[in-house]
Assembly symmetry: none
């Protein structure tokens, strides 16, 4: 079953809004096992809207429209679809009652154009709008299924889920198996290195299927299968997950779509461990990631951004002769990273102390190259471990990669401790 | 001049990511006076990608592709376009050097598939990638202009703006009067309040045109005009800017597309002023914003994330009886915000001390509601000013708005000092 989503609205073509409806509908359709092959965005223009409908009819079994069903003369979706199907429109009584009640309740006068929101194509099922006025439409003509939804996400989402989805299940998807998916999340590895590790699985995939993709310094693999029920799906997905895990156990940090900092906070909370940070080049980014997680206060205590050398010395007791002088290692060094991590851990009396110091650029500093970054992890009763990186990219990328590297190394260490126990 | 944007990527069709690239490109093309008539999303599929190209060729003069130019076998955009144009691909030497240098710098081995990122269609102009590895392409065939860009927004945006945009101006938009734009940036005001202030200017616009739009806690107005030369454009744009400024002088912080933290860092550097921060609910976000600006080390010295009450007491000397006890104001209070700002300023010996403390949610704390936030600004030799906010939204929104509010208040104060001098 192939689908196409047609979003209607000049504001999308002007870049005034993002097409979040297409993302929502695509995700929901994927969950139903429907393949979305194309998404189209077209303006509030009768001719071009009809062109888009004709193209979609050639390549899709289900066409879902979002937008263009409001009260104004610009709202043309139902008119264009009706004309294209050779059908007339009529005012749906129940939808009209709804529109009239709305204005009556507000004590305001309904202008005539608002009647357009109650239009239904002859022969179509009206889809009630729980959170707005414009009624949706669903109709099957020549084996193609058409679903017309409103543009505002807060109207579209409930109408899709409560009205259109059951209609699609009973009219278009009779007899198909539902699709189950799982997201596997990886850290400390790039997309192409991960693909190389999984190449045979990717190339010989059938059921479950697997698809890797990369976001900001993160790699995700989605594994999916069609099954009779959750138990059968879980069996199939877990078998494949086990295969992937055996190859990438030091990188696979979650089997649901969460950031690594959430796993860290949850793990530390469960293990009753605490953490603090001393950040130089990342300037707060690392702590910002950790505190973005609700409930992070149980594990993350606080920390210091020591941007200047003076702050490193004054707030974190880094010896001045480590920072400055002809033969000093300098602020960007293994030695300084170590002291920062140890000091912040001791000052805050936490189980772990994390530190980052490096050259984020664009200017180099201490005659050291942009992208040179040292991180350190100090552990209560353990030794302090440091890592050196030479990151590429602009200031933002270097800062993000630096913070992600600390998180990855901390996750690895927590995993090690869990295995020791 | 009509354009179509083709975003390539199965992850878009699965609803895993939102097509923010289409929004960005549409907005930038609108600013160039190019009409985007269609946006299409197609998966990583050779046949369907070619179908999309053929349809676009029938209805657009400029076709802009985003995505599908990475290292994997799924990345097919250049292959499909080359085949559709009847052209071959070659490895661009300079792009390949860039890819090889990346792996060499990281000390890792380049897998063969990475060479795909250096592919250029014969006859096309390579568009260098400042923030990634995959090289872009731009080519004109039979009066249709094709521009191929990478998928990750942080690669696509600089490549479009610095490489593709000039190429489009000189290859596709020749003979038209060039369009000059200026971005006016506002803080401390919402989109609808700003629109109300400028309603007559928006409704009666002709030349220059003006278009407001809102991003994350920021409002921008783009004013544009077509002119013979920069001097003529500057005259027209400055006249309109002056009108806008006279109404919104306490909100208009820049006439180019920079964040308010950059204005703050630049102003403080010029005035030889320094700043430090004590953050509770924002957990490093405020310092992260300030340090995202290159050269911020001249004005920003450092600060403390005091997430737990213990840290507020130990690192920032907040009296325990202010934080805890039945009648204590608590961590989220005007009093604590004041002490935090004053203490961080004194500890770091800076001219300004900034603080934020609040309830970011989702759980309330100290029986105070989610969204209640106090900020304070302490000034050397001056009095400490606090503000209370009741923000709406989720954890992320509340944190962002909190940080932005501190920045806005600091900007206002710096402006005041400048005017006093």
């Amino acid at each position: 079953m192939k689908a196409e989503i047609i979003a209607v609205g000049t504001e999308l073509l002007l870049g005034q809004i993002v097409n979040t409806n297409a993302r929502y509908l695509s995700e929901e359709l994927a969950a139903l096992g429907v393949d979305v092959y194309f998404q189209t965005v077209v303006g509030d223009n009768f001719i071009r809207l009809q062109q888009a409908i004709h193209i979609a009819e050639d390549r899709a079994d289900i066409i879902i429209f979002s937008g263009g069903i409001g009260p104004t003369q610009d709202d043309l979706t139902k008119d264009a679809l009706a004309a294209s199907l050779g059908l007339e429109l009529h005012i749906d009584r129940q939808a009209m009652d709804n529109v009239e009640a709305f204005f009556k309740n507000r004590g305001s006068i309904m202008t005539e154009n608002n009647g357009r929101q109650a239009l239904v194509i002859n022969g179509a099922t009206p889809l009630p709008n729980e959170t707005g006025l414009a009624v949706g439409n669903a109709i099957t003509v020549n084996n193609t299924h058409y679903v017309v939804l409103p543009g505002p996400p807060k109207e579209l989402m409930p109408m899709f889920y409560n009205q259109a989805r059951p209609w699609i299940l009973s009219h278009a998807l009779t007899g198909e198996l539902p699709l189950y998916s799982r997201m596997l999340k990886f850290a400390g590895i790039g997309e192409s290195a991960l693909e190389t590790q999984l190449l045979d699985l990717i190339e010989n995939q059938s059921d479950p299927t697997l698809a890797p993709y990369a976001k900001e310094s993160e790699v995700t693999v989605r594994i999916s299968t069609k099954a009779q029920n959750t138990a059968e799906a879980d069996n199939k997905l877990s078998a494949l997950q086990k295969q992937i895990e055996s190859r990438l156990s030091n990188h696979l940090y979650a089997d649901r779509d969460i950031p690594i900092e959430q796993v860290i906070i949850e793990t530390m909370t469960a293990m009753k461990l605490t953490v603090s940070c001393a950040e130089s080049c990342t300037g707060g980014l690392l702590m910002q990631s950790l505190t973005s997680i609700p409930g992070s206060a149980t594990a993350f205590m606080g920390g210091i951004v020591c941007y200047s050398n003076d702050m490193k010395h004054k707030l974190l007791n880094v010896p001045a002769d480590l920072l400055e002088g002809e033969h000093a290692p300098g602020a960007v060094s293994k030695e300084t990273a170590e002291v920062l991590a140890e000091q912040i851990r001791m000052i805050t009396d936490t189980d772990f102390g994390l530190s980052v110091t490096g050259v984020a650029g664009p200017a180099y500093s201490e005659r050291k190259p942009v992208g040179l970054v040292y991180i350190a992890i100090s552990e209560r009763g353990g030794k302090t471990v440091t890592h050196q990186f030479n990151f590429k990219g602009n200031r933002e990328t270097i800062r993000i990669r630096s913070a992600k590297s600390v998180l990855y190394q901390l996750w690895l260490r927590l995993k090690e401790i869990q295995n020791e126990v």
